[in-house]
Symmetry: C2
Subunit: 673 residues, 2 copies
């Protein structure tokens, strides 16, 4: 492998994000989502189903206390076999575990967002709140390091007996990610130490050594969390454990079969859903539950990078290719079928009944980041950008108060309400979910976006996204500072100003966006001399204080079409400008958007607008609308179609469904005239 191109994230505290696009999201997360999330995990949101999360930690802490003081037998043992035990309606709450088996992760996802947020925006009060929450969580940890309230409260003797479905290792993964974020954001390591103790305990139970358990997570994330833990601590054993989980996955006989004592051939479960149908190096297409899949692939990429495992890297590339070439929406959405919230077969990308979970797009960004850190190629960053500017922010309303699980490419309210095959496409966004994965995932993604925008190694600073901010880069003894001034994705100029006490040599590698047809870079007003490699523009030089890099990224509105094997999209086109996918809404274009057609040869006009959708650029395009003929019967002989000319008003996809419930479409039929 070409390790000279390896890079890693810049510590969050070394970047101050000033970017207009992401700052808005981050502020919303900080002001709205994080406090709301805290109320939610303390069961204080009126009208929302309780999470029971902090309550479970408290009960587990009490149980642990009793365990230490009185011995095992004193612990009340409930049967541990319900996926979501709930209190009897109207009845009193007992001292037992309630909620989904993975409810602990509500806290972990919250603390992760808090950590990132504090790195960008210190807040004493929030930090104190978080510290107290961490105390509660840590009190629930068992003496041996185990920390999962479902089994702690119910029956510790059953832990690790249902890896396939009961999400213990998933809880561990999220806990670890949260702990690392909080450590990075605040420098405090109490939770990180707890996560390490849990990791150490897991490493004592699982592993290639004789007598150890050969299982692996049903819902992946531990792999990538262990990769991060290795990065933070430098402890090889965490990397080894990640590799172990990855290597065991999909081996025959199936661990999950064994675990569930499935013996008869006809009862064999199909493990595609879990990406455990065959060893990961033999997997050629992205399959199964989309979130799980990209979490796994992310961990694989980390392990491949740190171990130099070429066959694992190849597997990552194949799986990436499968997603990018055959299974991804233009918004960076993945998971084309609601059945199993999963990838569908190649080129099956329906627009109105897919799943496109917000979390899956987030996971795709995780995967892209790790691929980029291994091999900086614009294709990875292009996908990251698609998701970050489209499929992910669409998951949250502009006010940060409601969320989509499912991000459709088109939607009409009647169909979403009445057609059972589209009922999972809930309109409008929901306030919160019983299984609350998307809102906190969005929080952590947006709060840590700088880690995706930039990475570095000793010689090079990579700019993957045009995310405005102020970065510090250590160059030997000298700390350089780069200020990236960007109004991306609205304006096509990005400026980078260098500050350094003395001249510093490093390479500045700038991604050339795949969508950009006329990319250019000037340094101090002169055409830059750089080298292009795999979609990055490498500028190696000695930088002086005051050096100015001007990047020009002309952004014309461009209609895109899909590969003709995407049957849904034949004869249709979708509008983009720069990284933004655009859509049309009923609010601007009237009802029955299916009557609209866009002139592929027409001109498009931009308009800067400041209003209820924020400070955005809208686009209008020349189009026509079929005049529906009044018909007496349901079917009548064809008559010449008459059209009325219309200006079709497009808004950025991520801003849809912020003006009440109405129709939305991305792909429109097109004509040429």
């Amino acid at each position: 492998m070409e390790t000279q191109y390896y890079s890693k994230g810049i510590p969050l505290r070394n970047i101050q994000v000033t970017d207009r696009f992401f700052k808005r999201c981050m502020d919303t997360v900080r002001k709205e989502v994080i406090p709301y999330q805290w109320s939610a995990l303390n069961d204080e949101v009126e009208g929302a189903p309780p999470s029971f999360c902090m309550r479970n930690f408290r009960i587990a802490a009490a149980a642990e206390k009793r365990r230490r003081e009185e011995g095992r037998e004193a612990v009340p043992v409930f049967p541990a076999d319900e996926f979501q035990p709930l209190p009897e309606e109207g009845g009193p709450l007992e001292d037992r575990f309630y909620g989904f088996v993975f409810q602990d992760t509500d806290f972990s996802k919250w603390i992760e967002a808090v950590g990132y947020s504090l790195a960008q925006h210190p807040d004493k009060e929030l930090e104190q709140l978080a510290d107290r929450a961490i105390d509660v969580v840590c009190a629930a940890q068992c003496e041996d390091g185990y920390l999962d309230t479902y089994y702690s409260i119910n029956d510790l003797s059953k832990r690790f007996t249902n890896l396939k479905d009961f999400h213990e290792l998933y809880c561990f993964g999220h806990l670890t990610e949260g702990a690392i974020a909080y450590y990075e954001g605040t420098g405090k390591d109490k939770l990180l130490k707890a996560a390490r103790r849990f990791a150490d305990y897991i490493a004592s139970v699982f592993g290639p050594e004789e007598g150890k358990c050969k299982g692996y997570p049903g819902h992946e994330i531990a792999e990538m969390a262990l990769g991060k833990l290795y990065e933070v601590t430098g402890e090889e054993k965490y990397l080894d454990l990640a590799r172990f989980f990855i290597d065991e996955r999909g081996k025959r006989p199936y661990y999950f079969d064994w675990e569930h004592l499935i013996k008869r051939a006809e009862e064999k479960e199909d493990y595609h859903y879990y990406q455990a149908h065959r060893p990961v190096r033999e997997q050629t297409g992205a399959v199964g539950h989309a979130v799980r899949a990209v979490y796994l692939y992310t961990g694989m990429a980390q392990v491949a990078k740190y171990t130099g495992d070429e066959s694992l890297k190849k597997a990552c590339e194949r799986l990436w290719e499968s997603i990018e070439r055959e299974k991804m929406y233009i918004t960076g959405g993945i998971g084309a079928t609601p059945e199993g919230e999963a990838f569908s077969y190649p080129f099956h990308l329906p627009n109105d009944r897919m799943y496109n979970e917000t979390c899956a797009s987030i996971g795709l960004v995780f995967f892209a980041r790790r691929m980029l850190e291994m091999s900086p190629e614009a294709r990875y960053a292009d996908v990251m950008e698609r998701a970050l500017y489209n499929g992910i922010p669409s998951g949250m309303s502009l006010d940060g108060k409601s969320f989509f699980y499912v991000n459709p490419m088109e939607a009409e309210p009647e169909g979403c309400r009445l057609d059972p095959q589209r009922r999972h496409v809930a309109l409008p966004r929901q306030k919160w979910f019983g299984c609350a994965c998307c809102p906190p995932n969005l929080s952590r993604m947006m709060s840590s976006v700088a880690q995706y925008a930039y990475s570095e190694n000793e010689s090079t600073l990579f700019m993957h996204l045009y995310c405005g901010g102020i970065l510090k880069k250590q160059c030997g003894d000298v700390e350089a500072q780069l200020e990236v001034k960007s109004e991306y994705p609205w304006k096509d100029k990005v400026e980078v100003c260098v500050e350094a006490e003395s001249p510093v040599r490093f390479t500045f590698a700038i991604r050339i966006p795949g969508w950009c047809r006329d990319f250019s870079v000037r340094i101090n007003g002169e055409q830059s001399e750089g080298i292009e490699r795999k979609g990055y523009w490498y500028l190696e030089r000695v930088w002086q204080k005051g050096d100015r890099v001007e990047i020009s990224l002309p952004m014309e509105p461009v209609l895109y079409q899909a590969d003709a094997r995407v049957r849904e999209d034949i004869g249709k086109a979708v509008l983009m400008r720069g990284p933004l996918v655009y859509c049309v809404e009923e609010a601007d274009n009237g009802a029955n958007l299916d009557l609209l057609e866009i002139n592929a040869k027409g001109t498009f006009r931009l308009r800067e607008e400041k209003g209820e959708l924020g400070d955005i650029v809208t686009i209008s395009g020349e189009g026509r609308r079929i005049k529906p003929r009044p018909m007496e019967k349901l079917y009548e002989p064809y008559r010449e179609v008459s059209y009325e000319p219309v200006l079709i008003r497009y808004i950025p996809y991520y801003t849809w469904c912020n003006r009440g419930v109405g129709e939305m479409k991305t792909y429109l039929r097109c004509y040429e005239s």
Copy 2:
């Protein structure tokens, strides 16, 4: 009501069908389906899951024998609460009930087809076989008249305790329909007597009188069967019972709630599926399981006719309007959603994921027939024709050996195999089904088609369909004979020759098909003088031997479009010629039919063909095919579309999927040039 327009079916033995289109179907049913069905219900089809039907009757007969000889206690009682008890795999068969709770109807549907077939085509051997089967069935009847093997074998004390789901009254309905058909076909009344005894028993249990049960069938059909039983026997009590079931349906509190002891409001079941959500006279739209719905509506129409109940007639008209105007495919298919095999919301008519069960189209023909017998309007016959020439025959392969449950408007094999939302669209047709409703339903429909084609009253003979045959009509003392010579739907001339010993006066009412733009009738070469009323051409005259009526029905290929509220079909058109819907298949037009577009202003050419699809007329139309551009990425900037001109070859929809598995489409995008 205008009772002078009432009519009733012509006794089957008074019509000899010679029609080329239907004769083919009838012969296939007689030669292939009826024998196959017999093997199936005797568990003699290799590779098919056993029906257990005749076996259950034998076991029930033995149980009944023991009951009579030894008293109740001797009967082995199994728990009666499984919907489909099956023997243990590989284990021995016990003397108990196996199969679906409604498995008795396998026999009833078979005997019905046999009865109709014998009426048209006497067959001593088949008749003897049927007589023996009837002996077995009748031996299973209880002393009190009850006849349902599920409860007879399991536990008689539980009968009529689960009307909602366990289909007893459905079994009764089918038994009665079968018994009547066999009586009409052969004159033998053993089974009819058994059905009457069962009906009498039911009438003793259910009814408006105090102390009687106020339930009604979960799966409707008893209503229409009782209507027929009234027609055959003239017994008012059967009509009363039908009316009782219809009147009780949907009353609050719900009988089904009571039956299942559902008390708490939050547990309320939604009875739309059963058309029992509200009283039938208050139902405005067709909802729920499509087969059940049209069976109910058929019974309602019969009761409305015979009781002169205007409010019931109005309800029938409203429900009809709902189907015809908002919920029916152009093929006569109904049931736009697989969830509940049900009607969807108005104008929601997806082409590739609907249900369109063959049985539902058959039920729609039942409904149309009864509406016609009450008020002869071409709209009813138009729908009947749609179904009979398209959505029903498509349910059976041309060789009669395999069947569709689901009749899609378009299909592509990969999607049907891999997309969970289309997996119910099974390609190719299946040999038989565990729940074998469609094949026998198709058998009885096709074998009795003459009853739908014609009806009569004292003064008038109605010709609803252009079905060729020789009819006898009694006019006072004189028996007239009409020979209808038709090569419909292939040729546009139909000739009717009258034979009668002496002149006879009657009205000949000929339907003017809704699709026909240039209908004309000549009598003995002269323009006819008739009166048009609601799409029928009434010719009242004194007919002489040798009179010749020539009907001209010019059949041009015509593209149809759907109401613009059918979003799926905007910008698309479907080809028809006369009553036939046409489709395109991969076998003729290559793969990815989604690339095809039809020129709405182009010309169409007819071609008579005799080949593997039978003796048919194919049509070719001017079209173009998008040339898919090779793309490196999944999404690329739009480029001008290039087309290649193609002749699009259309075949009749009902002949699709008879040349292996491939893509099929009915609606194509269209352009005008």
